[in-house]
Symmetry: C2
Subunit: 577 residues, 2 copies
């Protein structure tokens, strides 16, 4: 008998986000004994690094792991950062989705206001204990407190709050965990900190492992990393939903003013240009902007972008060309789609050109480079050379791009080949944070796999002695999960990583070609040298010269002929641009 | 100059879970044009199937996709389910983390109270429009309404709510989306529905594609799937945190009563046995249960499990053995660890045996099979034979197991080889829902990759004509993301999938051995047949018999000798257990 809907829905309930993540803790990276421990270290260390960079402090991070029993550890993470004001600290560690970073377009490691409270939750559900916090903003008072989470309400519970005078500044978190395990493998705390040091040469890390052994990763750069400034969304990546949301908060008098105030790269001139196409929309009060208006603005931005990126499209608009080749027809049809949205009707050829013409002269600046903080081409090269001692290094730093929502991002790729490298390794980073887990589901891994490396001289790339380092910088890294270990397959990001890999591939091709050329020449030389005594003998008989003299002469000729080999070898050992 | 902590934290804010998932929509599966569309279909279809099964209705699902413009589609999903009461509908579609399923230990496809509202959110941010809902519980009144989400508050906004008399029962959702694309590839809506039909032979699905073509997947089973009953947590998987949470809600008079009431498989006899070990804890009022008490109870459960699963451990306790072999020493040390937690001190040998002895006779029933709803061994075999027409099929249905939190799960594996299968394919399912995306980051994929298939007669498994179907049933599937496309690497689940694959591998080995044997015999037969005329001629000359007669005689002998081939071939074509 069919159950009634009333019965089925009588258990309908609402839940807190803390309940959700308690039940789905693996989404935060708490699955597996080794991984859970590394996740906790990652959350606390990235918070420390973010805080130091924001405050302009050279970070000194101290990490200690003590084994208290079977699968039972105590973790201490201490920094010399700016500290946390005592009235805010409970929410930082005791409430999910609370933080300074979530709503800002700024490149920080943390983004979601989940990490620190996630550690508290994990400590609580494995040991029943709070985390212990000690912090001071350097105002002469040190605060200590125990923090737990009221899971049903997603609110902090604070106990044993004390304060006392002290001249220390920084934050220290002590977190006891069960059901975790430490080892030295590729997913370990040690490996995590080692890779953090590779991508952050301005950081000093001291790690005391469970055996009491102290590992020091010393800084090699003595200038703090400048934190990226807060970025405005870029017009080429904005969506109608973004514009409507903006318009509801805007205090500008007109939509046109709102665009120059709220978006990056929009000068007054650009708005004047757009006024010729969308006069009524841009003169509206922002509060009156409709979804349809927003779609028309977005289509205009997209048309501007299209015309600035496609010379053929630009040319047919400039010439108002009617008799189109197949290629021109393709571009025309794309422009027609934009025109249709802008005009709200199927446009005639004449109308397409009429709408597009004023857009030709509009210039919108690219996304600001200075909001992104890449590792830097030179630092990657030095880091790879120093840490891996390879035979050859190629580095590519791509220009910043945007993905949906106007979010700037930038891809860096470094490839090191040969020398002391013995096997293939892919090192993934996002905003200089190592990604150790979930390699399989990551856009970075997919992009590397999607390249036809044979083209670049590697018949079997993934068995070659190659280290590939890829760092994605963004004000909002599109992680697949709140556990922040894999990049989602956002097409713009995926394609940009591929483009970077192909660019670096061309540099590798130069290297592999030289290696092949050398191998070929060496082979030829070997053959010649093999027959040389025989030839020398025959020549000596023919000419009546001394056999040894002839042979030496021939040897010299061969050496001369193949001295190119040494030149090539020297080039291979050298740097690539 | 270092920025002050006060400045850094002045922007500290709290956020709604709707804001979080709006910004991280890819975590819900909304990334990529094709995937976003498939995700929306998936969310609505699984809700329909769950509702029908819960109400005991044979599901009729109608899915229609209309192309409205460039990357612009209208999706309609209609079912004959129980309908949604009109006062609850707004929260189902307009509030994240609200639902009937989140808090229950019951095997449904949906679990998190996010899916339906996620569709509304995606519709809203791509088109600015609400979803349209039509529903009736069959009480003579049909309700229609438009639903959106107030993102800042995570609350529904309802407009145009109307009702009228009508004798229909079911739910219909119309959702318009932009930035999506339909195709017929392996990630498409079509493929999703096809696989849903393979794993759910009791469902009727009619799909009208954007070209107006109608695809019908007809039911072959005419009995509704019985919904699993709600499961109690199992003692072997429970954590201290679970026990403390239970104790705070329990109305039982003692902790002992609480355990029999709230946990599965715990009879009065089991509690009496445990009373000998933990008398004070089990006599407590539940509200007074401490974390430490909870840890002692969990250690007792673990010790009971250990003794029931390890014969050697059982034996040394029974004999109170003091002189231990190396293997026995290992088991003793594990028991000692449990005893240490139970007693709260480092135990003597005598004390270890004293604590363990009463546990020997305690029996805790395994998790209930009837709360899980697997596809079924026979249905998998039939479905694979009917859909793929292979040469050989092997199916393994493992017994239910538990993972952390006392959550029951069960693994089914079907492998089809040869016949009309031309290439390798892995079909992943969770609770009979096809998982099309994120194959790389999924424990199922990892488990398949981790098997040494050479052992089972496949030198190059992933290039062989093989289809592997794996279905994970659970009351709480550990998805890696809220997008529900990949299984997290929970060790118990991963190991169980591996065990199922190895079991199926042994069946495959029988098949591949037979194939090899046949190939070998065929080869020998071929050689004999090649020389047969020559031998016949020599024999004819020797014996004076007619050459043709001798040859026919020899041919018969060879056929007789190798008729085993046909027997073997018949076996290969047949079924495997």
């Amino acid at each position: 008998m069919a159950e009634e809907a009333v019965d089925i829905f009588k258990e309908f309930k609402e839940h807190s986000v803390a309940e959700f993540f308690k039940k789905n803790r693996h989404m935060l990276g708490y699955s597996g004994k080794v991984r859970s421990l590394t996740t906790a270290v990652h959350e606390l260390v990235t918070n420390s690094l973010d805080a130091c960079e924001e405050a302009g402090i050279l970070p000194d991070i101290y990490v200690k792991l003590e084994k208290l029993g079977d699968e039972h550890y105590r973790l201490t993470v201490r920094d010399n950062g700016p500290g946390i004001p005592p009235h805010i600290a409970p929410k930082v560690f005791g409430k999910l989705l609370a933080g300074t970073k979530f709503h800002r377009m700024i490149q920080t490691r943390g983004q979601q206001g989940i990490g620190a409270a996630g550690v508290t939750m994990f400590v609580q559900i494995t040991t029943g204990k709070p985390i212990h916090l000690k912090t001071s903003t350097g105002d002469g008072t040190v605060w200590e407190m125990d923090i737990m989470i009221d899971v049903m309400k997603n609110e902090p519970i604070v106990k044993n709050k004390t304060h006392y005078p002290g001249n220390w500044r920084g934050t220290e978190v002590i977190a006891e965990m069960k059901g975790v395990e430490y080892n030295k493998g590729k997913y370990s705390v040690y490996e995590y900190l080692r890779r953090t040091a590779i991508a952050n040469p301005h950081v000093n890390i001291v790690f005391e492992d469970p055996e009491g052994k102290i590992h020091t990763f010393e800084r090699s750069v003595f200038e703090p990393v400048k934190i990226g400034e807060e970025a405005k969304p870029h017009p080429f990546g904005i969506t109608p939903d973004d514009l409507v949301t903006l318009s509801r908060m805007s205090r500008a008098k007109t939509v046109g003013r709102m665009l120059t105030n709220s978006l990056h790269g929009m000068g007054g001139k650009a708005v004047i240009g757009m006024m010729q196409v969308l006069p009524h929309v841009l003169k509206k009060e922002p509060s009156k902007l409709t979804w349809n208006d927003a779609e028309r603005i977005v289509a205009t931005f997209q048309a501007i972008r299209y015309l600035s990126e496609n010379k053929v499209a630009k040319k047919i608009v400039e010439e108002k060309k009617e008799d189109l080749t197949e290629e021109e027809r393709l571009h025309f049809n794309n422009l027609k789609k934009y025109a249709k949205t802008i005009l709200g009707e199927e446009p005639t050829v004449e109308k397409v050109y009429k709408v597009m013409t004023p857009l030709l002269s509009i210039r919108i600046r690219g996304p600001r480079t200075d909001v992104l903080v890449p590792i830097g081409e030179e630092r990657i090269r030095k880091s790879l050379r120093a840490n891996l001692q390879p035979q050859f290094v190629a580095v590519v730093e791509r220009k910043p791009k945007v993905y949906s929502g106007g979010i700037p991002f930038q891809v860096e790729v470094g490839v090191a080949v040969g020398g002391k490298i013995k096997s293939f390794e892919l090192m993934r980073f996002a905003n200089r944070v190592p990604l150790l887990f979930d390699a399989g589901g990551c856009a970075i891994t997919e992009a590397v796999r999607s390249i036809d490396w044979k083209r670049y001289g590697f018949p079997d790339f993934f068995s070659s002695p190659v280290v590939v380092l890829i760092n994605l910088s963004s004000t909002h890294v599109p992680y697949t999960t709140a556990g922040k270990q894999a990049i989602a397959d956002v097409p713009e990001v995926f394609n940009e990583i591929r483009a970077a890999l192909m660019e670096v591939g061309r540099k590798l091709k130069e290297y592999t070609s030289k290696v092949s050329a050398v191998q070929e020449l060496l082979q030829k030389k070997k053959v010649l040298e093999h027959y040389l005594p025989l030839i020398a003998k025959s020549l000596a008989e023919l000419t009546g010269e001394d056999e040894k003299t002839v042979e030496n002469l021939l040897k010299k000729m061969v050496e001369e002929r193949y001295k190119k080999i040494n030149e090539l070898l020297a080039k291979i050992e050298g740097e690539s641009a």
